[in-house]
């Protein structure tokens, strides 16, 4: 692949009228999927991709080559050079990224090699045995990726990065009632994985499922959102913090830089330096990824803005993509928060959210993998999955308390290439959360 970039640059040297950006990516995965406490399938997959954007003035054309042999590269570039002049201009394009700052080097372990399949099946066999004592089977995924990226452009930018995320998701499902609980591990350093602690946390959740299953009526409830839920709402909120959404008028934060939008105890930072998060070195166009305050003591501070939209909107550019979010902890313990709820809900996980109107941050979605009734300060019953219809802005403004510790939560980014992000978040106590219907199923 190194040779492919050099070869392309050599070809492009004979076209001084062109600007270019070349991105090479390799993505390898070892992907174990399991169900009913047994292997469903094991996938090993290796993908390589070379993508090239060429610019002639404000005209551009892009191409991708998955198998970058010289003859293919020559043909693709010839085709691109032949067509780019005939295309209409993008008047908002000014220049490619020119930030040449390099991120500090850090050692990266290839976790595909470090955690062989035999280790994975060993861990899963022991977790399955522990869950089976309570008539639960385990379902989920145990994934190791290894990804590299090199980005080169005609402004002299040449940046390489490497990441090797781990994602373990275990759902324990009761064999009769189908009541489900979830435990996860995510990060890059498997030494943070404590199998005994993971197993004990899973079993504690399993034990909480012995209560009756009930339905609750639609209405407004005080709820405790598990860290995963708070993190996911904040992920969706970040859509409106992008300069792109500002540009297309769908941002909730339009005109709100410097304004108090949430309570003063809410602070959100996009921080790639936290060792417990899966770290990112650069943004999509190569700008260095640095800590960026998004919400500081309730005040909206910054849009996430790449080079293109910086030129278009006049906002300062950064390399951030909201992939390393940290929501600051509060001051109460989870027990104190739960104890303060007379009648409410504990929500473990969310499912299938979609915006209704992004500018208003309105959306709908469902609870999943463990919803519980809280009565008189204690979890009392298991509740069927519920639908909510809410505005994230309202949820955050209704936060009464945040827990005094954060948890690292992994999320799978299951789109073009399977990637994994992590977010640090505490539990949150939220009043008047709008449950709009019940699913009548667990």
């Amino acid at each position: 692949m190194q040779d492919s970039i050099a070869y392309l640059q050599k070809l492009l040297a004979s076209h001084p009228e062109l600007q270019y950006e070349i991105r090479e990516k390799t993505w390898a995965t070892d992907f174990l999927r399991f169900y009913h406490s047994q292997t469903n399938y094991n996938i090993s997959k290796l993908s390589t991709q070379l993508s090239v954007d060429i610019y002639k003035g404000k005209k551009s054309f892009s191409f991708q080559v998955d198998d970058p042999q010289p003859a293919k590269l020559e043909a693709a570039l010839r085709d691109a050079v032949g067509v780019v002049d005939k295309l209409p201009e993008d008047p908002d394009f000014v220049d490619l990224e020119s930030d040449l700052t390099l991120a500090p080097q850090r050692p990266v372990t290839n976790n595909i090699e470090a955690i062989p399949l035999a280790s994975k099946t060993g861990i899963l066999s022991r977790l399955a045995a522990a869950a089976s004592m309570y008539d639960f089977d385990i379902f989920g995924t145990f994934i190791c990726n290894h990804q590299t990226q090199r980005l080169v452009n005609s402004n002299g930018l040449d940046k390489s990065s490497e990441v090797s995320p781990i994602y373990l998701e275990v759902k324990a499902v009761h064999n009769k009632s189908q009541v489900t609980v979830l435990e996860t591990f995510g990060g890059e350093d498997f030494s943070f994985f404590d199998e005994q602690d993971f197993s004990e946390r899973l079993i504690r959740k399993i034990k909480s499922c012995s209560a009756d299953i009930v339905d609750v009526e639609p209405g407004h409830y005080d709820v405790i959102l598990a860290p995963r839920c708070l993190a996911e709402f904040v992920q969706y909120l970040c859509y409106g913090m992008s300069a792109r959404s500002l540009d297309n008028h769908s941002s909730f934060f339009e005109g709100k830089v410097g304004q108090q939008v949430f309570p003063a105890f809410i602070s959100i930072t996009d921080d790639p330096t936290d060792p417990q998060l899966i770290r990112r070195a650069y943004g999509s166009d190569g700008h260095i990824y640095r800590p960026l305050k998004l919400i500081e003591q309730g005040v909206f501070r910054n849009f996430i803005c790449n080079n293109y939209y910086s030129h278009k909107t006049g906002l300062p550019k950064n390399g951030n993509t909201a992939s390393c979010l940290r929501i600051d902890a509060g001051s109460k313990t989870l027990e104190q928060m739960t104890g303060s709820v007379q009648k409410g809900l504990y929500i473990s996980s969310l499912h299938y959210m979609n915006f209704i109107n992004p500018r208003e941050t309105s959306l709908t979605g469902l609870t999943r993998d463990g919803t519980f009734l809280i009565e008189d300060g204690k979890i009392s019953k298991v509740v069927n999955n519920l639908r909510f219809t809410e505005r994230i802005e309202r949820i955050l403004n209704n936060v009464l308390e945040l827990e005094n510790r954060c948890y690292t939560i992994p999320f799978s980014e299951n789109y073009e290439l399977f990637d994994i992000d992590t977010i640090k978040a505490p539990h949150a106590l939220v009043r008047d959360f709008n449950i709009s219907s019940s699913t009548h199923t667990i």
Partner: protein, 479 residues
Amino acid sequence: MEDLIKRTLEKIDLSRVEFADVRVTRTDNEDIYFMNGFLRGYGSSRDSVAIGVRVLLNGCWGFAGTSDLSEASLDRLVRTAVSNAEQGGKFTREPVTFPALPPLRASYHFQPEIDPFSMAKEEKIDFLGGLATRIKPQGKIVHSIVMAQFQKQQRYYLNSEGTWSHTTFYNTLPMMEVIASDGNQIQSRTWPGHMSAGRGGFELFHRQAFEANCDRIIKEATDLLSAPVITEDRADIIIGAGHLALQLHESVGHATEADRIFGMEISYAGKTFIKPSMLGKFQYGSPQVNIYSDSTDPRGMGFHPVDDEGVPGRRVDIIRDGILVNQQTSRHIAHMLGLEPSSNMKASFADDFPLVRMTNFCLAPGSGSLEQLIQDTEHGYLLDFTKTWSGDDNRNNFQFTTEIGYKIENGRITGIVKEPTYFGITQDFWNACDRVCGEEEWGFHGTFSCGKGEPGQPMLLSHGVAPARFKNINVSVKI
């Protein structure tokens, strides 16, 4: 390519494995994207190759995929697939098994009316740029896009039973959208909606009347800014075909994927409320509701002569006269359920593991035109053009918002409403269907991006539908 695939299969010690297959895909893609009247992106990839090897060894699947077709890579691929099955087999309880099928040879090569890959780029740009200019920001319109995605894919399949297939398909996703703003709120309108993809080439832009609908979406997006919302708690709704395709997809299509019954998708896509004991008994919908999976209809993107584990294309009734009678299955799952496999195992690319997927998943036509159905509706709403969709883990509860609703009074459309939102429970909803329009309104609506599986696979598939009416639906969702 046939030689390479045969050679790869021969690298597997077939005396050791219960089953094996080798797949190759060769894919061309082209994406064109106009924003606010200007060309924002034009990208292409040609002859993107992927190969995948799947083996069943000691009752456990192992799989490996790559884009590297070198001999050394193919050797490594086979070794890895076998090793994955061996290692995975150490964490199994019930081995995968299914009956053999007789070998067959199949070939099918689709030709579009207008091949987007041999069409001059300038011609495509001229046409799409013309649309982009017509809908660029003006009046209350603050943002607009016109986009096209073209795909040509050759698929090769060979398995250890001797089944061979080679097919070529062209698929196109045409789309345009405008966003209107009054400074406080935004409203959007798309054409032809989010289920606009289909089998074919550039002719889809003409067939779906893009030019004739530019002014309409500008006006409707603008009018929506001052339109009322639905105020009733319940109403009769007619669902237009584009949106009904997604309703069918989410609340019947996914619910009847049988891998969900066994929890194979719990970690991502979810489960289903359906249990094996419901087959032949469960009143899924009213007697007007007839739903089938049909991979034999070449008009839809779900057509194939052979699926991705060697099962010949089939039409299978899923719901007959309202009763659930079958499922979408793999060979393994069909065997567990005592059914014939339904030919629904598909992978997006050859380096993806095949999963139970919808192919052409269709609601059979009833009778009458949409105009007649509106005339026959005293009070209600015609809802179309999906804005928001969401279905629960068991596919039992759904909620949809469409871009626009057309108010119906005494058999006539009398106005519009914005962001009409309805929700329901799957069985109640389909039992509230009292009429499906006829053949004259029936057609295929498709998507390029049905997400399922991990690593994720965006699947291309189609739904044959005609508009249908549902009585007394809950439309009282307030935000």
